[in-house]
């Protein structure tokens, strides 16, 4: 199980790199959906010996439905409505964001080994993957210009938080993961609606056009 979980974590980081480098929105949405589906596997893989089977399965299923299917569908709908398919050149270019992301991942993996964990470690790569994904999400939100890409960045960040929450699922099962999933769904839902309005008002999803308010 550990080896398989290790593969999942590495794939999650690969997807982070891919989303950082990708300019095709459809591919990026697909990648984040795949990441969500991968994360849905983790509760099963990391389940401790005395597991509550129902909870673990419910969590995995919930994650799959929300992250792997529901939200990507919502984003693709928003894309179709606005007929966008490509990101414009982001504020931080693709190569620099790839480099920055890579640096962040490296630092995360290098230093997470030194962090003392109060609980028995579930998997050596868990904290590092979580922090890398959070960093990637932050980079995406800050540097991308299209509204859909910013929402993708938010999604990736929440994925990272979800991974971290798996550390706590032993003693805080429901609140933790349900909270993340609910937050994700609600936030993205509201964002989707606002995106729809943005498209209607500005005829574009380029948030560079949202620049009337400044000091």
């Amino acid at each position: 199980m550990t080896a398989f979980a290790q593969t999942v974590f590495i794939l999650v980081v690969m997807i982070d790199f891919f989303v950082l480098a990708s300019s095709r929105l459809k591919a990026a949405i697909g990648a984040v959906a795949a990441q969500g589906a991968l994360l849905a596997l983790l509760p099963i893989l990391l389940a401790p010996q005395e597991l509550h089977v129902a909870h673990v399965l419910a969590l995995s299923l919930g994650a799959l439905l929300v992250k792997g299917i529901g939200i990507p569908y919502l984003l693709r709908w928003a894309m179709r409505e606005a007929s966008v398919s490509r990101e414009v050149e982001p504020v931080v270019g693709y190569v620099p964001s790839l480099v920055l992301g890579g640096l962040g991942v490296m630092l995360a993996f290098a230093f997470s080994a030194t962090l003392p964990l109060p609980t028995p470690e579930k998997h050596p790569y868990l904290v590092a993957t979580s922090l890398s994904t959070v960093w990637t999400g932050l980079l995406l939100v800050v540097s991308r210009q299209k509204a859909v890409s910013q929402v993708l960045g938010f999604l990736v960040l929440e994925n990272g938080v979800f991974v971290f929450g798996l550390l706590l699922s032993d003693f805080m099962p429901w609140m933790v993961e349900a909270g993340v999933l609910l937050d994700l769904f609600a936030a993205v839902f509201v964002m989707g609606i606002v995106i729809f309005h943005i498209h209607r008002t500005f005829s574009s999803l380029d948030t560079g056009k949202l620049s009337a308010l400044r000091d």
Binding site: V13, M14, F17, L98, M106
Partner: protein, 307 residues
């Protein structure tokens, strides 16, 4: 030197000198088959080389010594690099601690000579190709270095023969994900260094879209034969590296080693052919992203090792 060692050396040398032209032919055949065509025979390049050697040369009046040195140094560099790669029944013909730096240096020297030859013609097309080539090489080389570093760290050896030798299966058992990432990154670098799709299209006839082909546009006759041969040897070098890496140096005997190498080379050529058939060439502004991506992948593999 024992007879065994002599035979081994002779085999390695023979493979290095005689086998390379088979690889581009194999790649072309795979591409043709995927496209539903019959395709040229796999030994087509041998025939082409022989034909070119018999032809005369058209020399430019403006080009001087660098123009003629280019193909020679390119082929020589590639052959010398091939001497460092371990063949069947390792070690390589030439091996010492830190020879991975010599490998990259020899490949770089070959590239440098080609670029000089291209600039020497004074043509705008060649100069454009040269500029593109060095830009992409400056991004691909770090990736290559880090890949070799990953190998070195995983096996604890400092020479190519050591890295790709008996220590390799143990490294695979312990560091499989990192080595896999390293192999993927190395494959991307191989595509870049050998001017294959998605970095460069070897079959295009539009000069504005060429990178490598345009640098050698003005060569003809035996010079062109040397250029093509050198490119084939370079492809063989990368193919052999990847084959040893992925097939784990299986088989220490001469015959099993040779079979393993041939199998690995065949797989390599097949994969290159498939990749070439299924993708289009990337826009030039996207190539740096690909190469930096490969570099980041290999760095990630390195971090996984040192964790």
């Amino acid at each position: 030197m024992t007879l065994h060692a002599l035979a081994r050396a002779a085999l390695q040398l023979a493979l290095l000198v005689l086998l390379p032209p088979l690889l581009p032919g194999l790649v072309a055949r795979v591409k043709a088959r995927v496209a539903g065509r019959q395709g040229p025979p796999v030994w087509q390049l041998y025939a082409d080389l022989a034909r070119l050697c018999r032809k005369g040369e058209v020399k430019s009046l403006t080009a001087g010594a660098p123009f003629h040195l280019g193909p020679v140094v390119g082929a020589a560099g590639a052959l010398a690099a091939g001497l460092l790669v371990p063949g069947p029944g390792s070690p390589a013909l030439l091996s010492f601690q830190g020879d991975l730096f010599l490998l990259t240096g020899l490949l770089a020297a070959g590239r440098f000579a080609t670029v000089l030859a291209a600039l020497d013609t004074g043509s705008a097309f060649e100069g454009m190709g040269a500029a593109r080539e060095v830009t992409f090489a400056s991004l691909a080389e770090p990736a290559l270095f880090v890949c070799l570093l990953v190998l070195s760290r995983a096996t604890g050896e400092l020479s190519l023969s050591g890295m790709l030798g008996p220590a390799l299966p143990g490294a695979w058992a312990q560091w499989a994900p990192a080595l896999l990432l390293c192999a993927v990154a190395l494959f991307v670098v191989a595509l870049a260094e050998n001017s294959r799709i998605p970095v460069d299209d070897p079959t295009t006839h539009l000069e504005l879209t060429m990178i490598h082909e345009v640098m050698v546009l003005d060569h003809s006759g035996p010079d062109l034969a040397l250029v093509l041969y050198g490119a084939a040897v370079k492809l063989y070098v990368f193919g052999a590296l990847l084959a040893r890496l992925t097939l784990g140096g299986a088989g220490q005997g001469i015959l099993s080693g040779a079979l393993g190498l041939l199998l690995g080379l065949g797989l390599f050529a097949g994969t290159v052919g498939l990749v070439e058939s299924s993708m289009a060439r990337l826009r030039l502004v996207r190539v740096p992203q690909l190469l930096v991506g490969a570099g980041v992948l290999s760095l990630f593999a390195f971090v996984l090792l040192v964790r």
